[in-house]
Every structure is written in C-alpha cells, then in structure tokens.
Amino acid sequence: MTELYDLIIVGTGPAGAMAAKVAGENGLKAALLERKTDIRTIRRICTMIIGINEESFGEYLTYNRRNKRFVFPHNGFSVKYDGPTRNIYGFHILSPCGNRFQLGDVKKAKAEGTPPVALMIDKGYWMQIIVDEARSNGVEVFTNTNVNHIRKEPDCVILSDNWGNEYQGKFVIAADGVNSRIARELGFNKERIFLGTYRDMARTYEGVEIPDSDVLMFCMGWKFSISLSPELTEGHFHIAAASYNVNDKLDEEIDRFLSSEPYATWFKNAKEIDHRTSCASNIASPIPVPFKDNVLLVGDATWMQETGNTAAMALGWRAANAVTEALIKGQINKEGISPFLEWYDKYYYQPRGKRLASSGGADFKDYLSAEDIDYLVSLVPEPLPATMNAYTIFGTIGRTFSGLLPRIQDERPDIMQKLMAMRSFPRELALVKRRKEGCAIVS
C-alpha cells in the first residue's frame, strides 16, 4: 500500500517549488511531483524578469545583493538566489517605425545609478536550487511524473500518474500552472469565464544591437503582439510573437518584423541560438476560492494567464504554511487552511482577480493601422516613471491617452473615431471571437 503523505505538491514552478521548500522546512511528510526530469531548463516561454522594489499583490519584493537572497518583507521570508542577474529599467511600447512610449528612462537611470525596477534572472537555476533545498529537507521529489487524475477518498486525496502510480495525501497543493489539469478535473473551469487561448512562441538571438535595451519591449502595430526581451548575456534577446487565434502563423510574423526597419538593422549581425520556447495557455477568469476537497490551488493555476513569479512564490509559501497549521490543529479541512484563503482573497482576488473577470474588448489590430500606432506613440515622447507592475502599466497608459483625447480629436479625428469605436465595442462580441478562435479547456 502506498504511504499517506501530509502534503503532496504538484509542479516545480515558483509556486510549487516554494511550497515544497516550506513543507521540508516545516517537517511535513511531503512529496513533490513534476513531469519534467530536467527542472533546470525552462521550455515554457518566460521572460524571466522579476519586478523589484514595487508593489505586487501586496508584496514588495527586493533583492539583497550582499547575501544573494530575494526578500519578501510583507509575507516575511527570503529565498536564496545566487545566480546571475541583469538590471531592467522599465517597460517600453514600440510603434512600428520605432517610436517609444517609455515607462522608464533607461539612459537616465543608468547614468544616475537609479535602482532598476526589475531583474532578469536564471529562473531554471533558481527553481533547481529551491527544489534541491526541499529535497535535502526530506521532501520526496518524483520527477518524470505526469499527474493526470485526481480523486477524493474519505481520508485522503489520491493523485494518479501516467505510469499507473498513485500518491495519497491529506492535502494537495496544485501548482500545475496556467492550464492546471487539477483545476480542470475538480470542475473549477466550468465556473470560469473563458477569455481566449493564448499562443506564444519565442526565438533567442545573439549579436543583436538595440539602443536603450535594458527594458522589456512590447511592439504594437503588427499582426500579432511582438515582444523583445533582453537575456542575461549582453547582445542576447528573446523575440516572441503571440496571438489568440489558433490559426495564426506566429513564426512568419517574426520574420516579417525582422525584415522591417529599424529592426532589421538591430538584427543585422544576429544569429538564432539555443532552443525555442512557446506556450499555449488557456486564459480564464481567476478562481474566487481556490480550494476544494483538501486541494489548495496556487500560482497560475488560480489565475488569468499569470500571477508573476513574486505572487506565485508568496502564494505557494502561504499555502504550505497554512497546511502545516491545519495539520497541527488537526483540522484537515477548509477551515484548517483558512489563513491561506483569507490571504488570497485579500491580496489577490479582491483587488485584482474580480476585475480581471471583466477583461476583454476590441483588438487593437482590428482598428488601428501601423501608422496610427506610430502617431499615437509619438504623442508621448518624454519618458514616464519606470514600472514593471502590469496593472500600473495599464493604468498609466489608460490615463495618459485619456488626457490626450482632445488633442487626438483635433489633429486626427479619424483616429479618434476608431478609438471611440473600440471603446464601445461590445465585450460580449470580443468573448465570442475569442471562443471561436481559441480552444477552451472546460472540463
């Protein structure tokens, strides 16, 4: 008969790795299940950029360079990271001709020694060291293990894998990512609003020359969203293309981008290296209460697309500590882990999650041409304060352009008309479009 674990964690991303580390430190009888064998290599697309010194889901992550630890002061813990870092000074939106809407003045920040708003890190290395720490603290780590089914028995939760093995736990922490099979099997997706299937692919290049490139760059005005993000090594960049239509040929649009100026010049000496990464993500509204039958969901498994590394780690940490408390109290139930649910509701669902359920609207590319985007971005030539918080970014863009509407009406009434049409585009139609163009994971 298989042994009964106090806690089984599924997934070695930030949320799962963190939960496992805590489980080990707290002395739980715990197992960590992961489908990959090589945790060190990240194959699902990720910029590996982590925002610091800025609010994110109630936390103010910072990096202690002296001791090489990431610090989570609000939650009250720190995690070792002694791998390489690269400073990131902001987020820029590029129009097709190369105009920039800058959230962060890179030149000024570097010249004045202003602290960066984010760090690029070696995420795979970080996950590896956290999992190694969990293992050395007694957590049994099972790699090459695909968790395909979950079921509840009277005294435990049972996970079964592709090899025919079963794992029994009093509690399970599901950190199996944005397309969580556990969330799916537990029926959560039936209650969520489907917002689209997001497909993304990235290539890595060396020998790229981009001015002021210590930022995350988002390129608008192309058929699909294109982003450029710096790699740890100077001159190395990821270029990614993403869309919500499963019929879109992302690869071809990257080629088109690379052959257009000014980008062709940036890449004139560049060569593709490494392996490609990609993702196909089921985008659904956040889960209001991420708990069922002694299964706690954490990280992207609870959310719309991504919570981000900081938020995912904090949630994994919270969940494993709440499970520990529940086991000590002898309350193997929802009430036992209530501190986790209270934290999630206060810092995740209420301030952010609820609102994300109403996302969805007109697609820019259906209304604005490349030249329209060039014009709009040219209206804000001066850099705005640096930020990597996605919600601050959206808020700033919205406020900035709302303030510019009178000028746009005056100079380009044609564009103003398009913006108004976009604003009044019924959200329901946008959701219908996403459903048609996507491939929803419901049950």
Binding site: R35, K36, T37, D38, T41, R43, R44, I45, N144, N146, N148, H149, N162, G177, V178, N179, R181, T197, R199, D200, M201, V246, L250, D251, H275, R276, T277, S278, C279, A280, S281, N282, C439, I441
Partner: protein, 59 residues
C-alpha cells in the same frame, strides 16, 4: 494517428495540458503521444504554436 515533430517541439507542454484524455505525457523530457489513448480530436494540432503535432497515416 498523431505524431509530434521533435524538430519543432519546444517541450512547452501546451498540448499535454489541453488534451482532453491525457494521452500526451512528458517522458524523459520528451513530449510523447500515446496513440492507444488518443481519440484524434486534433486539439493538440490546433493549440501548438509551433505546429509540432501532426496527423500521419496509420502504418
């Protein structure tokens, strides 16, 4: 039956996640379809951003 082109596959596991019958697994860091379980719904061929899964004629 469905085959995954190893040259194109990045290992992102989008298809693994989307498969309604859990026919696709990561085995020794390779994405492998179990054609005994596969129902040929073709969802994997639709969601992959790299076009790695594709239909092949039964041998």
């Amino acid at each position: 039956m469905i085959e995954i082109d190893k040259e194109k596959c990045s290992g992102c596991c989008g298809c693994v996640d989307h498969c309604p019958v859990s026919a696709i697994n990561v085995i020794d860091d390779e994405v492998i379809i179990d054609n005994d379980i596969c129902m040929e719904c073709l969802i994997c061929t639709k969601v992959c951003p790299l076009g790695a899964p594709h239909e092949v004629a039964q041998a």
